[in-house]
Symmetry: C3
Subunit: 348 residues, 3 copies
């Protein structure tokens, strides 16, 4: 990405509420991790695991937490803050100004007469916007997106290229949808009669609430007859699948390749690790944590942490799997016990 | 989704072959699950797990199975049927008429002169149809789809937007392909020589038989030299991966995020749970059931049910995982036995 | 796929450095696996598992390894080679000539004035190429692809249709990207304050080195501040997810649906089986092998083979899971030991 201009360590420390160790006049033009920093970069060190990379760091200065600020090696000139990642929230926009997008309708876009498009919206080339679609102020629709009839997109929402929004889906305000994601897809519902699968028409809603971000190539099904809902402020990583009638609580985190099957409802602030899977019709309590690759086949209580398949308490699972490796030893001990007890039986 | 008009409970009961409890003149305009029903909705109760939602149900009436029809709470006016989901097959189309699509070629579509497109087909904006492609009667090609040279699509098939059909793929009749799915992709075949991976040209076929439905963002590889085949009437959920030369038997069910590696062949009527994975070169018997997240590394007999990694008999696996949690207790008991046996050895 | 012409067994044997058993004048027009070969096909038998299909093989001849060349049944006329898959590298191009693509800019493409497009490039219909994009010689951009500002694509690289390249991504030479893949997506980085997730701006790079092949519907994130790198000659199957700042070593193999979380770095020549997942911030040594569905939560040493969740030595894991099935028996034996020891305690 292109940067604009540069900053001194002192400017950075002032902006981020930190302090300078060493020379505050050192200038940097970009940010980088410690192991991948060039001479113009402020190198980020936020995690002790990367201290081993310090010695070979070629950055001109270090952005480091109070906890790690005295580590030896690497750049001696440092910006010290409480939380380097939080500092980036402030610092990155100073060097990487938000890309401006000109509003307006690209001539290669195809927009139905009955669609409602404010002048502040930016519609990219080959975008297709069908009948009765309603867009809010400042909406950005990327190139080659398709928004089917009766869908609505709230103000300030950004659709990256090649996204599909199915008919009637409702996307809130300030939502970000990355490339290739499909919203409001028919759910997977069939009635099987004599071995043949007859489709139950999928006519429910799909609601993406405000401030949600959805990664690339995700699939969010519409409800069968009810609604699928992604709650306010939730964040979905890439390749996540959400089945029909699922309700994801507000401010949840779903890491890449998670799958949630139909009609499962989760509370607020749930976290799901990568590749975790939840079967259908579950209730997951607020604040629950589902480990990476966990296979959840039963309800999870609020605040609980689970992992494994079938998922259970995370620590018990890890402990059990560790013990499993001692099983051969236990079998040998049982063999020996049986022999000794048998010998005594014989000799008595 | 937009509905048209309304129904009385009596009309619904007559159409679905059920009976009315209470007032048959009650009118509804949509369907909804019990927990998410507004005052115009016929609320669906098909599963005892949702009985707890009855008390707070705001729907005007209930569509309920014989088994659950006497449950207390919720709407007193009810349509009682044997199988509420099967009833929806009949009732939903009465309120949600099939969307009509005007046939014809959108002016923003790009169609090669040598392609064969009947007048009854509907080709959306920015669809691209390459040389020698053949479409059947009534085919619908969504906006921004790409159909590469020599592919063919059977009558009545629907491609949702942003789909890619690779060169030479053969899609049958009445197939539904959801947004973003890729059909006939090059398989993953390399010969490794001195650490370098040389690609084996992937020139085989990809056949989607009649009445198949494929979810969004799936990937179906072409054969390397043979054919990949998805059998008649099979249903694939979103984000499913099918490797090269795989043959999926007729009328199978593959839930979201399943992956089937190259050359595996499955019999008729197989069911695979979400995120299940099958390695390559397996034979899976007819009617086998692969559990969610199962990792199948060996053949599965007809009718068998497997789960876990490595996948084995489902009940044995669940029992073994349950017992695993008792392992710490067994270790304590073995410790105690060893002490007691040793003491007696000493005191004898 | 369409073939051109035909070959005799003798021609095939000469080209592949093999020998003929039987009639060298037999003519074939295509290749096929043993179980799916028509009368014009040279049937491939490379694996003893498929010997059972030989009896019913309808191919006109067999392409077979030295090891299996004497198996009975099936076509008696045979081309015998050391490695039939390696032979296909030579033979397939003789029957399936590479598809020629005419260079030039399709009139329905949208290209920014500041983009640099050589005359040898082929840009498909509805492709969108934004400001300051640079394409190398002979690049092919498929229909409905979107390449955002400041990205660059090296010579000889092929993008299949419906691909998105995000702003600033750098794709090397002779790279192949299959349909629907997203390169340079924003990474999944948030700072959570009082339960709200604030996005850390994702401004790092995304580098796909030379000779990489990426399957369909993959997602490759850009770095947060550093770079994501896919090393030279690596091959990614379909639906693979690569998180921000990940570095994949050269000549690695990632099978379908693998997910690698942020900042993990892998050495050269690593192999990951289908659906394997790696958490973030790991170091995976050169030549390591990650089994299908493995869940890796710690570093892996060079050359090590791991599987299971949490991933550990592959053989130990499989052995432990096999032993787990004997756990009920061990519990019975411990019960019996306790009874016998208790009886003797009583009778002494």
């Amino acid at each position: 990405m292109r940067t604009s201009g540069c900053l001194t360590l002192r400017q950075a420390a002032d902006a981020a509420g930190g302090r300078v160790l060493g020379d505050g006049d050192v200038v940097f033009r970009r940010f980088a991790p410690v192991h991948d920093a060039g001479p113009n970069a402020l190198a980020l060190l936020a995690d002790r695991r990367y201290a081993r990379d310090l010695r070979d760091c070629r950055g001109c200065a270090l952005l480091v937490s109070e906890e790690l600020c005295d580590l030896e090696g690497g750049p001696a000139d440092r910006v010290v803050v409480q939380d380097p990642h939080a500092a980036l929230l402030v610092l990155v926009p100073l060097l990487y100004p938000e890309q401006e997008v000109d509003p307006g309708l690209h001539p290669a876009a195809t927009v139905h007469d009955s669609a409602s498009i404010p002048g502040s919206a930016a519609i990219g080339p080959n975008a297709v916007i069908a009948a009765r679609v309603v867009l809010g102020e400042g909406v950005r629709v990327g190139a080659n997106c398709v928004i089917e009839r009766d869908a609505s997109i709230g103000s300030g929402t950004v659709l990256f290229p090649n996204v599909t929004v199915y008919a009637g889906a409702v996307v809130g305000e300030r939502v970000v949808v990355h490339a290739g994601t499909r919203i409001g897809v028919d759910g997977f519902g069939y009635v099987t009669e004599a071995g043949k699968h007859r489709k139950v028409p999928q006519v429910g809603g799909c609601v993406i609430e405000d401030d949600v971000e959805i990664g690339a190539n995700c699939t969010i099904d519409r409800g069968s007859i009810g609604r699928t809902v992604i709650g306010t402020g939730s964040k979905l990583d890439n390749l996540v699948h959400i089945g029909h009638n699922v309700q994801i609580g507000a401010r949840s985190i779903l890491v890449a390749q998670v799958g949630v099957a139909g009609s499962t409802r989760t509370g607020e602030g749930v976290a799901m690790g990568g590749q975790a899977g939840l079967v259908g019709h579950l209730r997951i309590g607020a604040g629950a944590r589902i480990g990476a690759q966990a296979g959840v086949i039963g309800d999870v209580a609020p605040g609980e942490t689970v992992s494994g398949y079938p998922a259970r308490d995370h620590r018990s699972y890890l402990k059990a799997m560790a013990l499993l490796m001692r099983f051969p030893e236990v079998m040998r001990r049982v063999d020996r016990l049986e022999r000794r007890v048998a010998e005594r039986g014989d000799t008595r």
